[in-house]
């Protein structure tokens, strides 16, 4: 009620005034129009803001808002036309300055006009849905100045020319350009985009298309990338300096496309300077640049990755299949490790430790390491060398580093069981000859193998260590028990090896000299006395002996020889001449071992404690051997090695291979039975797939082997073929 009353009162007050002065509107507008003129002419200081505001207020109040608004449009348009003319008249470089100055003026004027007409802005304009004064001022500026036919293209060309100048290395007035660009943005982002950005991007695309073509013709890959990187940075700086931030993504996109994406393949494969050369020469900086640039374009990284992968595979394949390099297993593995280190470093230094690159590297190594069937053997030999002497003087941490690297190679192996076979053989030799440098290192590697492959993989290896320890204790006990009756006889050290844990091959014991036989018998009594029900058999092919020998002029030497050699030399205590046949008969050493032992006793210069007749390089069955009276050496202690190939010979390799294959059969069968027991019915392909999956931590089973094992299981009635669908196998419980 009360509000209604108040409104009624106000309306009455309106009517009075309107009626009072009919010429009021015209008069008032004239005052205001004059003021607008003065403002544009920089004469605003004489104007009374209060008066003008009141006039404008009253006009709106008296419903002359429409007149006021259209008057404003007309007046402002008129002024802008004038301004437009003066800008058009500006010559050359002053064009932008004039535009900028006028724009500043216009803004200032617009500010004042808006203040004067604030009441209209607040009440009349919203209710009639007209454009507010400020926006109106901008629109009129846009339509009359920026879009005027004489200015529009000139403005665009001027701006683009300036950018072009800056790109070619000249200095331009960035402040001025920035103001003009800001003006375009003030007029609305559509104006900026349509009147500048669109063209800017087109021109840039052309520019970089031409420039990149020039670069690629005359630069090598590294230089090109440097240039591209600089251009990219320049464009980003340009945006931050005088363009709208929204342009950054667009312009970098243009540069990326023109300078990188379009030339990507050519760059990567560039002769003498492409990706492969960078990898070969460890150009971390160039590689890093290539990575950071290429990651900006689609498929850029995958291109680098693919080329890198095929490069690593190629070099790796050459490395592992080169028969020259396979001659020295330790070098062979060292080369692999070097190759891995090299690429690891590249990936961490240049490729941002990219996971996909690491995976590519790993899969490449896995690919080529397994191309050489001897890789497992070589890796084990490498470890052997390291653990024999290679690690002497290394700190504990360094040892760990080496072992970790070996484990990494081990992980790439598909035939882990082959590695295990060799590792066992090498470990056995190390332990028995007492050649291992560090027990801690040995155990550390076993622990690593255990975590990698599980308990079963290492249980026998650990058994070997236990045997060594137990043997030590046993020997102490034995010597203590014999302390009284030991006298001058030989000292015996026995290592008791558990059958099955050690890779021993059954070999017939040779005939030991009587002196030794006696001690051996004592030990046997002692051992079986404490361990009833066990059986001892002597592995004479694995032992060593220290002998004291006196030669012609009474000089004494200590000879470190194998058990076989000891047996041979002991024969010469009672004879000066023995024929090959006699030795063979007396010792019963297997022929091949006998020949090798004799060879190192009689044919190695400086260690020839025996003399052979006739003199020749090989041991023949009709040869005769003499105690070499005239033997001299400056060393008191002499180690006489049996001629022994470190790397396996061809027949040994075949044999190991065969044993591995034999060992695999039951594993494949067990896997098939496990799978079929749970699945009952399964088709051939799936069995092959599952068996492969189950066994891949140890080796990669051959599908043909799997098929054979299935057939064997069918024959033994664990499985049958389905009567109807012959693809299927059924488990027979």
């Amino acid at each position: 009620m009360s509000t209604q009353k108040r409104r009624n009162f106000q309306i009455e007050a309106f009517k009075h005034r309107v009626v009072v002065d009919p010429k009021y509107a015209e008069k008032t507008w004239n005052i205001l129009e004059h003021a607008i003129h003065e403002i544009y002419n920089h004469n605003a200081s004489g104007l009374s803001f209060e008066e003008l505001y009141r006039n404008a207020y009253n006009m709106v109040l008296h419903k002359f808002g429409e007149k006021l608004y259209s008057g404003l449009v007309t007046t402002m348009t008129m002024h802008l036309r004038e301004i437009s003319k003066s800008i058009e008249d500006a010559q050359g470089g002053s064009f932008l300055e004039e535009l900028n100055r006028k724009w500043a003026d216009h803004n200032k004027a617009l500010q004042m006009i808006r203040d004067i007409l604030m009441y209209m802005d607040r009440t009349f304009i919203p209710s009639t849905h007209k454009t507010p004064v400020h926006a109106l001022g901008l629109n009129l500026w846009r339509d009359n100045i920026i879009h005027s036919s004489n200015i529009q293209t000139r403005l665009l060309n001027t701006l683009l020319d300036l950018v072009q100048e800056e790109r070619t290395g000249e200095i331009i007035d960035r402040w001025l350009v920035r103001n003009v660009i800001m003006m375009l943005m003030d007029l609305g982002s559509a104006v900026y985009q349509e009147d500048f950005e669109k063209h800017f991007l087109n021109v840039s695309a052309n520019f970089y298309s031409v420039e990149s073509q020039q670069f690629i013709e005359c630069c090598d890959c590294g230089d090109y990338l440097k240039k591209a990187e600089r251009r990219l940075n320049e464009e980003m700086e340009r945006v931050s300096q005088y363009l709208d931030p929204s342009s950054e993504a667009k312009i970098t996109n243009v540069v990326e496309k023109e300078m990188i994406a379009n030339h990507m393949h050519r760059l990567v494969h560039m002769e003498n300077s492409g990706l492969v050369n960078m990898l070969v020469d460890d150009k971390y900086e160039d590689l890093g640049r290539m990575y950071s640039l290429f990651r900006r374009v689609p498929d850029g990284l995958s291109l680098i990755r693919d080329v890198m992968t095929s490069h690593i595979r190629d070099t790796g394949r050459q490395l592992v299949t080169d028969p020259e390099k396979a001659r020295n297993p330790v070098d062979f593995v060292q080369r692999l490790l070097d190759e891995k280190d090299k690429h690891d470093k590249i990936i961490s230094m240049a490729f941002n430790n990219d996971k996909t690159f690491q995976n590519a590297l790993n899969s490449s190594f896995e690919y080529f390491i397994n191309l050489n069937p001897r890789s497992p053997e070589f890796i084990s030999l490498f470890v052997d060398e390291k653990l024999r002497k290679g690690l002497k003087g290394y700190s504990e941490e360094d040892v760990e580093v080496v072992l970790d690297k070996v484990m990494m190679l081990f992980r790439y192996l598909q035939e882990k069981d082959v590695f295990e076979k060799y590792y066992k053989q090498h470990l056995a030799k190390r332990l028995l000859s007492g050649k291992t440098v560090s027990d801690d290192a040995e155990r550390s590697l076993i622990v690593k193998l255990k975590t990698e492959c599980g308990y079963q993989f290492t249980s026998k290896l650990e058994g070997m260590f236990t045997d060594m320890k137990t043997s030590q204790d046993t020997m102490q006990g034995f010597h203590a028990s014999q302390a009284t009756n030991l006298g001058d006889g030989p000292t015996l050290v026995v290592q008791v090896l558990t059958t099955g844990s050690w890779p021993t091959q059954p070999s017939p014991a040779c005939n030991l000299p009587a002196e030794i036989l006696g001690v051996c018998e004592k030990f046997r009594m002692y051992y079986l006395g404490t361990h009833t029900g066990r059986r001892l058999s002597w592995q004479t092919n694995m032992g060593t002996a220290d002998l004291k020998a006196t030669f012609g002029k009474g000089q004494k030497h200590e000879l470190n020889v194998s058990t076989y050699q000891m047996c041979i030399l002991m024969l010469f205590n009672n004879a000066d001449r023995l024929s090959y046949k006699e030795i063979e008969q007396a010792t019963e050493i297997p022929a091949s071992d006998l020949k090798r032992s004799l060879q190192s006793l009689a044919l190695i210069k400086g260690k020839n404690v025996l003399r052979k007749e006739p003199m020749s390089k090989d041991i023949g069955e009709d040869d005769a051997f003499f105690f070499n009276d005239k033997f001299t050496s400056k060393f008191i202690k002499l180690k006489i090695n049996t001629v022994n190939a470190q790397k396996e010979s061809e027949p040994e390799k075949q044999e190991t291979r065969q044993r591995v294959e034999e060992d695999r059969k039951p594993q494949v069968e067990a896997a098939i039975v496990r799978i079929m027991k749970s699945r009952r019915v399964l088709d051939h392909n799936n069995i092959v797939a599952e068996v492969t999956k189950q066994l891949q931590s140890r080796f990669l089973p051959n599908p043909v082997v799997i098929k054979k094992r299935i057939e064997s299981l069918i024959e033994r009635e664990f499985l049958e073929r389905d009567k109807v669908d012959r693809k299927l196998y059924r488990y027979l419980a």
Binding site: D683, H684, N685, V704, K707, K708, I710, E711, I714, E715, R721, R726, K727, L728, Y729
Partner: protein, 232 residues
Amino acid sequence: MRRSSNKKTGPSSNSSSSSSPIDLFRSSSSKAVAKELERIDQLFFNSYANGDSGMIEPDGIEVLCSDLGVDYTDIKILMLAWKMKAEKQGYFTLKEEWRRGLKALRADTISKLKKALPELEKEVQRPQVFLDFYSFSFQYCLTEEKQKSIDIESICELLELVLGSQFRPQVDSLIEYLKVQNDYKVINMDQWLSFLRFCLEISFPDLGNYDADQAWPLILDYFVEWMRAKQS
């Protein structure tokens, strides 16, 4: 001699006839059946059986073959053995095998048996029956205790005999392959059955539909490999 063997088999013939008193009451032809059985037994003892063992032995089988006018290596003899479900190669027993076979063929004289043979041959040609006959032929060749496989040479002869007429080109190639290869010295039942399946299912000699992933025994993979190498 003969008499004593008569006595020996006497109780067993009694026991076998004791299984048919029900028939005696039920059917009027039971007498005829008994008669027939008697004649079958007579044929067995009078003509072919060895008096000591009470079985037809290799000698007897040879006589039987000549009476039937067929060679003893003829497939028809193998079919006859199959019909009898004969267990041991070269021997037929009275109780189980001879009676079972001749009864099924409705033959109680040698001339009837001779006439029945072509019928038998026709019967064996039926696919399901043939499979049974085919696997029997393998079993029949296992002469030793616990023997599970047959040497290559015998397998070749058996292939020739059993599949030769139906799958001439396959059998020729297979035999040629078996004789040149060194991987296998014997063939087991699984492989034997797969030979038939191969002949029935795989188009020959182009081998277009042979797929090594389809759980064929390895020997057929090798055979196909050998065939393809030879063809190219």
